[in-house]
């Protein structure tokens, strides 16, 4: 009677950002968000994983054991990140090829594993705040993320012990957050300049349906790039003033980087800022005016405008038709960015919601949609890149065009070229270019065990389905027999299914420890609730109406619960809660009667 029921199906929304990550959920009618967690992961010398604010200091103290902006490595191969490696202090292990391995001290981790550490931290934060286990999540990704980057994000969720119910595009999530109780109809542009990625999405709003018309972007563009401009200037200054090249001294670079970020942030509010840096008794001081800052970053801001124009063209809208513009991402605090957006879309952008939080809030709304607690809202998103297969001459034949609403599908029939051929190899790519080598290789699959027949006779129908997460699923069947065709898929980048499974298994072992700790914590929460309730009841008249034996029974049950309370056996705690609950039945009944009784006494009949 004193027990509290938990809703065990809580779905959280997670913004797994380049710079910061957040977790949010629906609370009655509106989303609630926890304070952000910096996306920094460090392996302490004692072998412990440290995440978030605590890891920030480690960037300076142990730069070789700490990583930030790991999102830039998600779903990428070593050849893709050469540019990144020049700018970021990533320590890449030598055996990196189709999957990158990052060194943190003496251990190596894949980017999904590192992201999983961040997700696990968010999961724990949410569990502590909600007082219940969290196992289901919606995770956001940049709209312009390709298949491999999306798969890597989903893998990260699974490694962290989360069932990823949906990947949602960040700008679309932001539109959902803004869409609450706002206008019913209209065209919205969402401009999202984050730490490492840029997205632009144009949506049509219609009676709770959020239909994405087109999306565009650059997964290599963000606030990090701005930081690098300032950092380079400071490092060049140091080189000329002190005659010292500090660009390879991790500790110096990270200290300076934090200074530079601080200066950048204050330039959003003040006309000038300064960079101060002390190093081995020497002092560096530099003023940066907003004017200089703007001249440094102009080309970065300009690089966002091309995708915006393309997006409007693909959506079939002109700037005049856009009713609202929404700004997302910390970099949109920069006045020059806001100015450029205003000029391009000829509209004053919305900034009511915190640009750092808006994506997480939207993810919580989507979580609510999936959990069934948010009704009448529906997201119809698109695939950002065309899907194609390589045909003769290395040419790409497009089978699903970009900006197609997802889920989207296509069927293609393949045959053999040689008599008796028993397998056909197919290469699937993503991108807009004509030649396969200029597109992003997604996967190769082998149609195997084809019955030997004259060339051109077999007919294997392959179905490509891009699901609501924007992830490709391939199935094949023999068009003659209707039988399912054996298919062997090799992803070009990222983890194979077997690797992911192994990591999930390893995580589940840790997960069991986590789960156990969570169950004990939750049992204590319940114990607290019932002890408090019984304590209150002890001061009620109803307590006096019990017999001595009944009172002694209750006090005994309380002592029993207190005995096991600090142990780590949640079953024991639960059993004692049940016992206490049982022996307080009469007390609870008496209290009800007393309540009714005193209510009656106060009433004039």
């Amino acid at each position: 009677m004193f027990q509290i029921e938990f809703d065990n199906d809580k779905v959280v929304g997670i913004d797994l950002g380049t710079t910061n990550s957040l977790v949010a959920w629906m609370e009655l009618a509106k989303p609630a968000v926890l304070p952000l967690v910096p996306s920094i992961v460090s392996l302490s010398p004692s072998g412990e994983i440290v995440v978030g604010e605590k890891a920030r200091q480690e960037l300076i103290d142990h730069p070789d054991r700490t990583i930030y902006s790991v999102k830039r490595l998600m779903g990428r191969g070593i050849a893709d990140v050469q540019q990144e490696l020049k700018l970021f202090p990533f320590h890449i292990a030598d055996d990196s090829e189709s999957i990158i391995r990052v060194k943190l001290g003496e251990k190596t981790f894949t980017p999904p594993e590192i992201s999983a550490f961040i997700l696990r931290q968010l999961k724990q934060n949410a569990e502590a705040a909600l007082g219940q286990p969290v196992t289901k999540a919606v995770i956001t990704v940049p709209a312009y993320f390709n298949d491999a980057q999306r798969q890597a994000t989903r893998d990260a969720g699974r490694i962290a012990g989360l069932e990823v119910l949906r990947l949602v595009n960040e700008p679309t999530a932001a539109a959902l957050a803004y869409g609450l109780d706002k206008r019913q109809e209209g065209i919205i542009a969402v401009y999202d300049l984050g730490g490492g990625t840029f997205d632009i999405s144009i949506l049509k709003l219609h009676e709770g349906i959020f239909e994405v018309l087109a999306t565009n972007g650059d997964t290599h563009l963000g606030g990090d790039d701005i930081d690098h401009r300032l950092l380079r200037i400071a490092l060049e200054d140091l080189q000329s003033e002190w005659g010292e090249d500090l660009s390879h001294v991790g500790e110096a670079v990270q200290t300076l980087r934090q200074e530079v970020v601080r200066a950048k942030e204050s330039l959003s509010f003040l006309p000038d800022a300064h960079i101060d840096f002390a190093w081995h008794g020497k002092q560096y001081h530099r003023e940066i005016t907003r004017e200089l800052f703007e001249s440094l970053i102009k080309d970065i801001v300009d690089r966002t405008l091309g995708p915006c124009r393309h997006c409007m063209k693909d959506a079939g809208v002109t700037p005049e038709q856009i009713d609202e513009v929404v700004l997302v991402g910390g970099s949109t605090r920069i006045p020059m960015v806001r100015g450029a957006v205003e000029v391009l879309f000829r509209a004053k952008p919305h900034t009511e919601l915190n640009p750092d939080e808006v994506v997480a809030l939207g993810a919580a709304v989507q979580a609510g949609i999936l959990a069934g607690t948010v009704e009448n809202q529906l997201l119809l998103d698109v695939t950002p890149l065309s899907l194609g297969i390589e045909i003769s001459g290395g040419v790409v034949s497009k089978i699903v065009h970009r900006n197609s609403t997802i889920p989207a599908s296509a069927s293609e029939t393949f045959t053999t070229g040689v008599d008796g051929q028993t397998n056909v190899l197919i290469h699937v790519v993503q991108g807009e270019r004509e030649l396969a080598k200029d597109c992003r290789s997604l996967l190769r699959f082998d149609l195997k065990e084809i019955a030997p027949m004259p060339a051109g006779m077999p007919r294997i129908e392959v179905r490509f389905l891009i699901d609501a997460n924007g992830i490709l699923n391939v199935t094949a069947r023999d068009a003659r027999t209707g039988k399912e065709q054996s298919i062997d898929v090799q992803p070009s980048y990222g983890l194979t299914l077997e690797q992911t499974e192994a990591m999930i298994d390893a995580a589940i072992e840790h997960g069991e420890e986590d789960l156990h700790a969570a169950q004990v914590a939750l049992a204590r929460v319940d114990a607290d609730a019932i002890l408090l309730a019984v304590d209150k009841a002890g001061r009620n008249d109803a307590w006096l109406e019990l017999t001595d034996a009944e009172r002694e029974e209750i006090l005994g049950a309380i002592r029993q619960l207190q005995t096991v309370y600090h142990g780590d056996d949640h079953h024991a705690i639960r059993d004692r809660i049940d016992l206490l609950n049982e022996v307080t039945h009469k007390l609870a009944e008496n209290m009800m009667n007393t309540a009714v009784g005193s209510a009656l006494k106060g009433t004039k009949i």
Binding site: D9, L165, R166, H206, E207, I209, Q366, I369, L370, A371, G372, L378, L379, L380, S404, T405, I406, P407, A408, S409, A410, L465, I466, D467, A468
Partner: protein
């Protein structure tokens, strides 16, 4: 089931865009995977599949040109791609002029940009005429179900494709 049946529409060439959108939204609210997140894996897979068909149907029928191509295919017409390589005789002169202008433009002759501009305007006007012709044939098929109308549509579509190619060639990137 074909896309027309899926959206409960007659096999017409002219479709009211607003009505089509209404059907698409209404079916999305019934079929979308988001509504099945708490159901069994089989039901979720089914939702992905049926919504994929809905989206494919909407995408193919929303645009009048892809809709016409799709309907021609359903009605057993072969819509080959090669046909667009042959220059329609009435365009021989224009195509020759355009190629000259393009060659000079790529060779860097600034003065030829206006020529390209005027070529584009000419081709766009032609496409406007073609579209008017198409609308007429669309109406003819919709009211009579006469297959001759479809034969005519097929010929016009090929010419339209050719002109569209020419227009895209005149869209040279802006010079910086």
């Amino acid at each position: 089931m074909d896309y027309f049946e899926f959206l409960e529409l007659p096999r017409n060439l002219a479709i009211d865009a607003k009505d089509l959108e209404k059907r698409f939204y209404a079916l999305s609210r019934k079929l979308h995977p988001d509504l099945f997140a708490r159901r069994s894996q089989a039901e979720r897979d089914q939702a992905e599949e049926s919504t994929a068909v809905l989206n494919d149907a909407y995408r193919n029928l929303r645009d009048p040109i892809t809709r016409a191509e799709y309907l021609l295919k359903l009605e057993g017409f072969d819509i080959g791609e090669q046909t667009t390589k042959d220059v329609p005789p009435e365009l021989l002169e224009e195509v020759f002029e355009l190629n000259m202008a393009l060659e000079e433009f790529h060779a860097g002759a600034e003065a030829d940009a206006p020529q390209l501009e005027s070529a584009r305007r000419k081709f766009e006007a032609m496409r406007g005429d073609i579209d008017a012709e198409l609308r007429q044939k669309f109406a003819q098929w919709d009211s009579t179900r006469n297959r001759e109308a479809l034969t005519a549509v097929r010929v016009i579509l090929n010419r339209r494709k050719y002109i569209t190619n020419l227009i895209s060639q005149t869209n040279v990137p802006d010079r910086i």
